[in-house]
């Protein structure tokens, strides 16, 4: 694993840039642990101050220092993304490995559900969920729901790899030497699908964070938790653009785009590492 990461940083410029961008945002989010103010306190600083030396990112119309506010927001947003990725990884690994290794009716049943989940229109469902739960929809519930919706594509991917592994020599050895299916799946096959799990986990984070931003901007989440989405919601709510408090919108947009591009570069370079065909292309192009 570490050898792969070392190779990637050395030979793949996209990976290196991605690491730097995501690293910057993560550090910024971690800064919130040292924040002098709480995330829900309002009118603690003079409102509507443009970015300056004393307020790096300016202040908003609710009297909050945007630097610390956004630091909290990114911490929550990243945590949310990681939560969704973790939940959906657990489901997709389990389903993918079970379907791929056991095959037969287990495979058919799991893939039947997989097909249903693939075709669900997720965004309208989330809106309906908000419609029912209203402000009871906290971040963890939302992460749980999105985790339960965001696994089917990746499960199919893992299944296809696992199908290939099933017929490999070492699996037969393991079976004959009396390893239980559970052990074979999680000790022998899991390491093979790990790079895919990693790449899809990052892609999943992009998806879930984007979804959260979108929902929050429409006002369809709990607006009292600072996230990137709710920051933008409050900015809209206070007509930041019209009043001329442009930094309230521009700075979070720049930061979230940085995060997205960073994560995206990571998945692209990981996918290239996983897919031998793109490696061949690279050789052919050189």
């Amino acid at each position: 694993m570490f050898a792969i990461i070392r190779d990637l940083t050395r030979y793949n410029i996209e990976f290196a840039i991605g690491c730097v961008l995501v690293g910057i945002i993560t550090l910024f989010a971690l800064a919130s642990f040292f924040a002098p103010v709480g995330p829900t306190m309002i009118y603690v600083v003079p409102p509507d101050m443009p970015p300056s030396l004393s307020y790096w990112f300016g202040t908003n119309s609710r009297g909050q220092d945007l630097f610390w506010q956004l630091s909290y927001a990114f911490r929550n947003t990243l945590t949310f993304g990681v939560m969704v990725a973790a939940i959906s990884r657990i489901i997709s690994i389990t389903v993918g490995l079970l379907a791929g290794y056991l095959g037969g009716w287990v495979d058919r049943v799991l893939m039947f559900f997989n097909d249903i989940f693939v075709s669900l229109p997720i965004f309208p469902i989330l809106i309906l969920v908000y419609f029912v739960l209203r402000s009871n929809l906290d971040m963890f519930t939302l992460a749980l729901i999105m985790g339960c919706l965001g696994w089917p594509f990746d499960a199919r991917l893992i299944r296809s790899v696992s199908l290939g592994l099933r017929h490999r020599e070492f699996t037969r050895h393991a079976t004959f030497s009396g390893m239980t299916p559970r052990k074979i799946m999680f000790e022998e096959h899991l390491p093979y699908v790990m790079p895919i799990v990693l790449a899809t986990a990052i892609a999943n984070m992009i998806w879930s964070i984007g979804m959260e931003v979108t929902l929050a901007v429409l006002g369809f989440t709990n607006l009292n938790i600072p996230t990137v989405g709710t920051t933008l919601y409050w900015a809209n709510n206070h007509s930041a653009m019209i009043v001329g408090v442009w930094w309230w919108i521009l700075i979070p947009v720049i930061l979230i785009v940085t995060l997205f591009i960073g994560l995206f570069l990571l998945t692209v370079s990981l996918n290239e590492y996983i897919d031998p065909r793109s490696r061949l292309r690279r050789m052919g192009g050189a």
């Binding site: 229109p121 969920v129 029912v132 984007g210 979108t214 429409l218 933008l232 785009v257 994560l263």
Partner: protein, 334 residues
């Protein structure tokens, strides 16, 4: 031909099943909502008129009968389908007593117009450029376009739409940033009105096209860069078949098949996109209607919009399914 007919029939049944399941699911989810439309209206009326308790009780009974709120869930469900089949979805709460279906039908042309135009544009241009980008992997313009598309891809719809508003509505105000047409123009079949509609649709359509273009470009490019290594392409090139012929009839023609499936899969996602786009540009379509209905706690209207969306998306996928065997002779229509 006979085979194709049975194939269409089978797909039609499938369509009916999907529509039924989708709308029923929407029905049950929306009816979990704790908000009672009767109480909402009664409170609204009571707040306006002060109100005589007897009259309010009468109103409450009348509304309960109208919305059927006192019935058990399964009867509500049967009731709903019975009325749904004759095109009655009940009165909306948002604009009581206007029927929800009227509001939906008023909003539908806006969304369909916006969606059809932007999907066709982005899908066609994206696929042609993506096909060329996959075939001519060293072309500088196409490479730059690829980098741009990659850069836009991870950014959510919302941000793209918002950046457009910032650029063309605020920093360089040349485009209207809200509404479907100018307030001072009277709706009608006049040049002025149509021009205004087009002018107002440019930014929302552009935001959808930018995102959709990137997705179909990248999908097509990836597809094509696999297809160019297929034997039939290599063979045609070796035989000295003219390059344009190879690109269009061998490469893009073969890549179209999975791209078409991709379009069907993306339709649901594109509908989600319009919800946001319409919200950002205050466009008078289904998306705005849905958001307003959610905010107002209007169960009937939310259900009506969801139902129409289910029918529209499933219908579009149905049409694409019908085209599929015409495009790929290997698909068995039996």
């Amino acid at each position: 031909m006979r085979d194709y007919f049975t194939f269409v029939l089978k797909r039609l049944l499938q369509l009916a099943a999907v529509v039924f399941a989708g709308i029923s699911a929407a029905f049950f989810i929306t009816h979990l909502s704790p908000i009672s439309p009767v109480d909402m209206i009664v409170n609204r009326v009571a707040a306006q008129s002060g109100g005589d308790p007897l009259a309010i009780q009468d109103l409450r009974d009348a509304l309960a009968a109208l919305f059927g709120t006192d019935l058990p869930l399964h009867e509500k469900f049967l009731n709903f389908w019975g009325r749904f089949l004759v095109g009655d979805l009940g009165p909306s709460l948002l604009a009581f007593p206007t029927p929800a279906i009227d509001l939906v039908m008023r909003a539908l042309p806006w969304t369909v117009g916006l969606l059809v135009t932007s999907i066709l544009l982005s899908w066609t241009i994206g696929n042609i450029l993506g096909g060329l980008g996959g075939y001519y992997q060293n072309n500088r313009f196409l490479k730059a376009f690829g980098v741009l598309a990659m850069g836009v891809q991870p950014i959510p719809y919302y941000i793209v739409a918002f950046l457009l508003v910032l650029l063309f509505g605020y920093f360089w105000p040349v485009m209207p940033i809200s509404g479907g047409f100018s307030i001072n123009v009277r709706p009608g079949f006049t040049f002025e009105f149509i021009a205004s509609v087009i002018h107002h649709s440019i930014l929302p359509a552009a935001s959808l096209v930018i995102v959709g273009l990137g997705i179909s470009f990248l999908g097509m490019r990836a597809m094509v860069s696999n297809i160019v290594t297929e034997d039939y392409v290599t063979y045609a090139e070796l035989a000295g078949v003219r390059t344009e012929r190879v690109v269009f009839f061998y490469v893009i023609r073969n890549a179209m098949v999975p791209q078409l499936t991709g379009l069907a899969m993306a339709l649901g996602g594109i509908f989600s996109g319009t919800i946001i786009t319409e919200q950002v540009f205050a466009y008078p379509g289904l998306g705005s209607l849905l958001v307003n209905a959610v905010n107002a706690g209007d169960t009937t209207l939310v259900l009506a919009v969801s139902s129409i969306a289910v029918i529209a998306v499933a219908g579009a996928i149905f049409v694409i399914d019908l085209i599929h065997p015409l495009l790929d002779p290997r698909v068995k229509v039996k």
